[in-house]
Subunit: 252 residues, 2 copies
DNA sequence: GAGTGGTCTAGACCACCCA
DNA sequence: GGGTGGTCTAGACCACTCG
């Protein structure tokens, strides 16, 4: 990647720059390698730093780069496939679950969550916090909302922290799971999630909302927040495919 | 939303600004309403236009706003739920399929697609283009790659355009579908996809990759690109839930 | 042609990490 | 303390839409 002047083209500079950098990443850099700093790079391509940053942002969004304040910009490894939907439904916390319980509090959920749980607005529910690791890195955090109605024997629980979280999950297993549905959308990390995921606030995340049905109503509602830069959510049985982001551009 | 001076806080201005604007959207604006232009808004809050834009970008990413060059910034409707995974597997193009065939060409797919299809690099396959509407708006475009091996009777096809696309889909139905798997990840729209989706290049999209298995191998591979700002991908049977993005902030 | 959002510049300072 | 990325400014010009 020499001192490349960008030839003038009608497309935005940052877009062209992104393409050039992307090709350089494929051909001249390997995973983990540190790129020159932003001021140098901008000078090399003859653009303002803000313009260069626009290109880097895109590449980070696509999971090609990783930037850390005070450290530098490195070439990111390919996205990890994290299994989200197993073919057969199962309660959170069962057997081969990839989540680790962190703690559990009682608090009033936001209105939309309360609506899905069919609880009154402002009525507190059990909120189990869990986190999920993959490849030695935390890739997701989750809030699992469980209304009292689903775990009636748990009103006078005295455990705390992770133990309490496990108690709630254990209690859930006693119900027969009748079904679940799931939605995925793009969001931006709130301050607390960002901290958990080792990202800055506002970082792009994939929000997976899962409803668990038992006894004819919603027995639990999970809101899971995945790092969008490093994760590919898989829904089948083979989390080992890699299709998107390919060195070659698509033909025709 | 008056001439609000932001009180000095340790958090970034654009972040605080986003929060303030978000609350204003909930309380003082209705869907479709036009916001003041960026220069006015920036002046009102006493920040540079670039800073204001950073806040607007976030809100657009979260599906709260819609910005169009030459027109203005409007309050976006809630995201539409688009069903992606039906419980029972089925071939693309069958019965209640939400996709409309556009055309079909033969071209060599990118290397990773070729690998999944188990075709030689550079070997052309059928590429069916389809698009998907929801609420009168195009929400996704798809490239469905079908290798010759899956549709052997189609080598000397003479139809063109949508008719040809339908012919390929029809031929696929004759195989017995043995399974499929799916992955979702964040991407940015390439120039052609962006045009289809009425967005600018680089706009955030959700890329859904689906592999269809038949006769012991991958018979087709779909790469679908959904607008991330307007879509919530649903995987259960009830695409009518709305949980995320809620006026109220989450309690504790 | 007037008004909008999109791109770009050249600077400044801040928050963070590490030797 | 020196180097990194993150935030912010005050301007300029461009591309697009619409009356």
């Amino acid at each position: 990647m020499g001192t490349t002047q960008l030839e003038p083209v009608p497309e935005p500079k940052y877009w062209h720059l992104k393409t050039v950098l992307s090709e350089a990443l494929d051909s001249e850099f390997s995973v983990g390698e540190i790129l020159p700093n932003e001021r140098d790079l901008a000078a090399r391509f003859g653009v303002a730093r803000a313009t260069l940053r626009q290109a880097l942002e895109q590449l980070e969004l696509e999971g090609r780069l990783q930037r850390r304040r005070g450290v530098g910009t490195t070439v990111a490894p390919p996205r990890v496939g994290v299994a989200v939907g197993s073919p057969q439904h199962s309660w959170p916390g069962s057997a081969d679950d990839a989540w680790q319980p962190v703690d559990c509090v009682r608090s009033a959920p936001p209105a939309a969550v309360a609506a899905a749980l069919e609880t009154a607005a402002g009525e507190p529910v059990h909120v189990v916090r869990r986190s999920r690791m993959s490849g030695g890195q935390r890739v997701a955090t989750e809030l699992l909302h469980v209304p009292d109605a689903a775990v009636p024997d748990l009103t006078a629980i005295d455990a705390a922290g992770a133990a309490r979280a496990r108690a709630v999950l254990r209690e859930l297993q006693r119900l027969e799971l009748e079904g679940q549905d799931r939605a995925v959308e793009l969001g931006s990390a709130r301050a607390d999630d960002a901290k958990d995921l080792d990202r800055l606030p506002g970082a792009p995340v994939l929000v997976v909302t899962t409803r668990f049905f038992a006894e004819g109503r919603t027995a639990a509602l999970s809101v899971a927040t995945y790092r969008a830069d490093t994760c590919r959510l898989t829904f089948g049985d083979s989390p080992d495919v890699e299709i998107h982001h390919d060195p070659e551009r698509r033909a025709s």
